[in-house]
């Protein structure tokens, strides 16, 4: 054991180059005796010492800054103008006449690498993990500790087994597409260095569960974090941090099971830091994001089309902004084009995603019935495909039924629900149906008549759509609404939605579904926003009063005159109502 210890000490200075865990690996080898390990280490140390000799040992004994300078050499960071460390032979820096390595600014940018080992502990609800770790320099010296909290953003741990499809498009051209991978967790953490201050961070994380052939797993976490503050030598420091951690989960252990699981873990952490003394004057800061000023409705649809493969079909969507997702669901007859002038009001505050329901807009048109349940199945597949977490729903028309049904079955994944022209409960009879629409929709449901009107004559696009707003759509706008429904076969989803309207208990399954989410909405504490116009079509003054009396945590906002398509008559009003409400949610 004495020989082993001596070998360890002798070898320690070279660990930054060769990796501390190499040593650990050797020690783990079951077929090596401790003497063999010591002999191996000693032999390697002798070879290494011949090459690095006193220089490296001097540097490592001189503290963290000097270690950083040696790392500069090892990383190829011989920066022009950098001074040689005290005590280092002049030959140390001179021969390293190559391009700077891993730093962009050799004088003010500090790059620090540490690894940590310790324990992780789950909360009982498996939503949070806390890490309590000892921290080490790369040469294995203990250097304080690291603590942090990880908050899951997924609903089912099995999602951690998934990984995104390979990205499409070029890697060497500055253009998309770039996939929007899901944020699987949010994190906060600090690293407390021995007598030298601390660094505090927060940021999103990827997480992944990798099954191994023996039935065990490796659970990994990869973070992207920003330094929010610091103490001591890192007081007023700025910068970014990456942390890449893992834990091995033995076969038979359910990390996400009901029992109270603690586990060992390790992380590798790298910091790019600019200390406070090097920080310059912040230029006049940007004003806090404000909703965009009102603008006349535009016919433009200036968004990049994206597609998600759901149940073997491509669902089209647009995806703008960043942050937690705000999911805009259109109704009948429409597509994401409906939201084109609303989304710019909301993108300063979150990630705005507007899909086209299956069979509508630019989404595929598979040979299915297009029942409400089909639409729900595809929409839920879409949410799962994009791994959307903490969703805020902005719902219109049939989008209300689809979105509310999802929300009431996945309440933990929802931040809030904004509703417009909303079917909040089934219609007990045609007398209960909105008066302004009653005759029209009764004719649409009449056998032999409705199909001809909707499928052959396209009256939902040509008549009902323009009739549902105060302003007149331009021909260019009308053409955009017509595009997805040019031939009769493409109008099947529009016709089917009409058949699905739950009036007098029929169709029974739809009536039951609407009753179900209606009752749950009444009990739910989720924040709700009801945007309405006067006189409205589906949401009339009586419906607003019903909502105010029956829905908890509800805000109602009137946006002035309007019928059914408020997004066309007053997109700024809709967008600002959503944006202001959303900021309070956040």
């Amino acid at each position: 054991m004495r020989d082993f210890s001596k070998a360890m000490l002798r070898f320690s200075w070279a660990m930054p180059l060769l990796g501390f865990q190499q040593l650990v690996n050797l020690l783990r080898s079951p077929d090596q005796s401790i003497d063999e390990v010591a002999a191996t280490l000693d032999a390697m140390s002798q070879v290494a010492e011949r090459q690095f000799g006193e220089l490296a040992q001097t540097l490592f004994k001189s503290g963290d800054d000097l270690q950083g300078r040696l790392m500069d050499s090892l990383f190829g960071g011989g920066a022009p103008g950098a001074t040689a460390p005290a005590g280092a032979p002049s030959t140390c820096r001179q021969p390293v006449a190559r391009a700077p390595g891993y730093k962009s600014d050799p004088l003010r940018e500090e790059v620090i690498a540490r690894y940590t080992r310790g324990t992780g502990q789950f909360s009982r609800d498996k939503r949070y993990i806390a890490l309590r770790m000892k921290m080490y320099t790369l040469d294995g010296r203990e250097d304080g500790y690291h603590e942090g909290v990880w908050e899951a953003q997924f609903q089912d741990p099995r999602e951690l087994l998934d990984r995104p499809a390979p990205p499409e498009g070029p890697m060497d051209e500055p253009r998309g597409p770039v996939p929007h991978a899901a944020v699987m967790a949010h994190t906060k953490a600090h690293w407390v260095f021995n007598n030298q201050g601390s660094i505090i961070v927060a940021g999103p994380a990827a997480s992944h569960l990798v099954p191994l052939p023996d039935g065990s797993f490796i659970f990994m976490v990869s973070t992207a974090q920003i330094i929010t503050g610091g103490t001591g030598r890192f007081d007023s420091a700025y910068g970014l941090v990456q942390s890449l951690g893992s834990t091995h989960v033995s076969k038979g252990v359910n990390l996400f099971g009901p029992e109270d699981v603690s586990f060992t873990a390790t992380t590798i952490d790298t910091f790019r830091v600019v200390r406070g003394r090097h920080h310059g004057t912040v230029p006049a800061g940007p004003p806090p994001p404000q909703p965009q000023p009102s603008a006349p409705p535009s016919a433009d649809y200036p968004y990049q089309s994206r597609y998600a493969e759901v149940h073997g079909c491509r669902m089209h969507y647009i995806d703008e902004g960043s942050g937690d997702p705000i999911l805009f669901l259109h109704g009948n007859p429409a597509w994401s084009y409906l939201w084109r002038n609303v989304i710019p009001q909301v993108t300063p505050f979150g990630r705005c995603i507007a899909p086209d329901l299956i069979g509508m807009g630019l989404s595929d048109k598979p040979p299915i019935e297009y029942s409400l349940f089909d639409q729900i199945r595809y929409l839920e597949g879409f949410i799962k495909k994009l791994n959307l977490r903490k969703i805020t729903l902005v719902l219109h028309d049939w989008g209300v039924a689809i979105g509310s049904h999802y929300a009431m079955r996945n309440e933990r994944n929802i931040k809030g629900i904004a509703l417009m022209e909303a079917m909040l409960k089934p219609y007990a009879s045609w007398d209960d149906f909105p008066a302004s629409l009653r005759d029209t929709f009764q004719s649409f449901r009449a056998p032999g008549v409705g199909r001809e009107l909707i499928v052959d004559k396209n009256v939902m696009i040509e008549r009902v759509l323009p009739g549902g707003m105060l302003r007149k759509l331009s021909e260019r706008e009308m053409n955009r609404y017509r595009e997805p429904f040019k031939d009769p076969a493409s109008r099947q989803p529009i016709w089917q939605f009409i058949q699905e309207l739950p009036v007098g208990g029929s169709p029974g399954a739809v009536a039951s579904l609407v009753s179900g989410y209606s009752e749950k909405l009444k009990r739910s504490d989720l924040p709700k926003l009801l945007i309405y116009a006067e006189p409205g079509a589906i949401t009339t003054a009586a419906d607003v009063a019903w909502a105010q009396a029956n829905l908890k945590n509800l805000r109602t906002v009137s946006i002035g005159p309007g019928i059914h398509f408020h997004q066309e008559d007053n997109p700024a009003g809709v967008g600002q109502a959503v944006a202001e409400w959303y900021q309070q949610l956040s």
Partner: protein, 202 residues
């Protein structure tokens, strides 16, 4: 070089070429590389592409790295801001945990010297740090998931991080009009589980 290459290779013979630091299991391969090269903005400033040479920690060339960064912010001045310190305990498994907005999305490929490659995608934070002489440091950190690989990393699974930066001289407007190119550097850390025969992760 201030060390002798042959001697280094002698040392390296004792180890796998990949750095196994901080493993949680022998199946897990830990690799660290750094890259240097050029970045280029798209005309609309929404995208950056990186074309980088890749190096091992002992400065040996080891392939190349390419990637694309897609901005998720409206105004570059947002990059100057940093959030307030998180609140609540750091050592207890409960919230609150701040939900920071993703500033960019990324995709990248790392092609090693033997031709094997790892492709990954993931969200990123970006930060613009003003320095005392009027210049700036533009930094990017990514938490990425490996989507696929080739060669020895065919069907590999895992995660990786990338922490990059570029120094912007005083007076240069990185986000201004014009075709701006810049030099950049990244440090990339990979945790990889290669696909062993019989593994369920096909």
């Amino acid at each position: 070089m201030f060390y002798d290459q042959a001697a280094f290779e002698e040392i390296a013979l004792h180890f796998d070429p990949a750095l196994h630091g901080a493993q949680s299991d022998p199946c897990e391969e830990v690799i660290i590389r750094y890259t240097r090269g050029a970045g280029r903005f798209s005309a609309d400033k929404k995208y950056i592409t990186l074309s980088m040479r890749q190096y091992t920690l002992d400065d040996q060339p080891d392939g190349y790295h390419q990637g694309v960064w897609e901005a998720q912010f409206k105004d570059p001045r947002e990059l100057l801001q940093r959030p307030a310190n998180p609140v609540g305990p750091m050592n207890e498994p409960h919230g609150p945990v701040e939900h920071l907005a993703v500033v960019a999305h990324t995709k990248g490929v790392w092609v090693f010297g033997d031709g094997s490659a790892i492709t990954a995608v993931g969200p990123a934070l970006s930060h613009l740090i003003p320095l005392d002489d009027g210049s700036f440091l533009f930094a990017v950190t990514c938490g990425q998931i490996i989507t696929n690989g080739t060669g020895r990393y065919a069907r590999a699974h895992g995660l990786k991080t990338s922490l990059g930066s570029t120094h912007i001289e005083a007076g240069v407007n990185l986000f201004g009009p014009g075709d701006v190119k810049f030099t950049a550097t990244t440090i990339d850390t990979f945790r990889v589980v290669r696909d062993p025969a019989g593994s369920p992760i096909k």
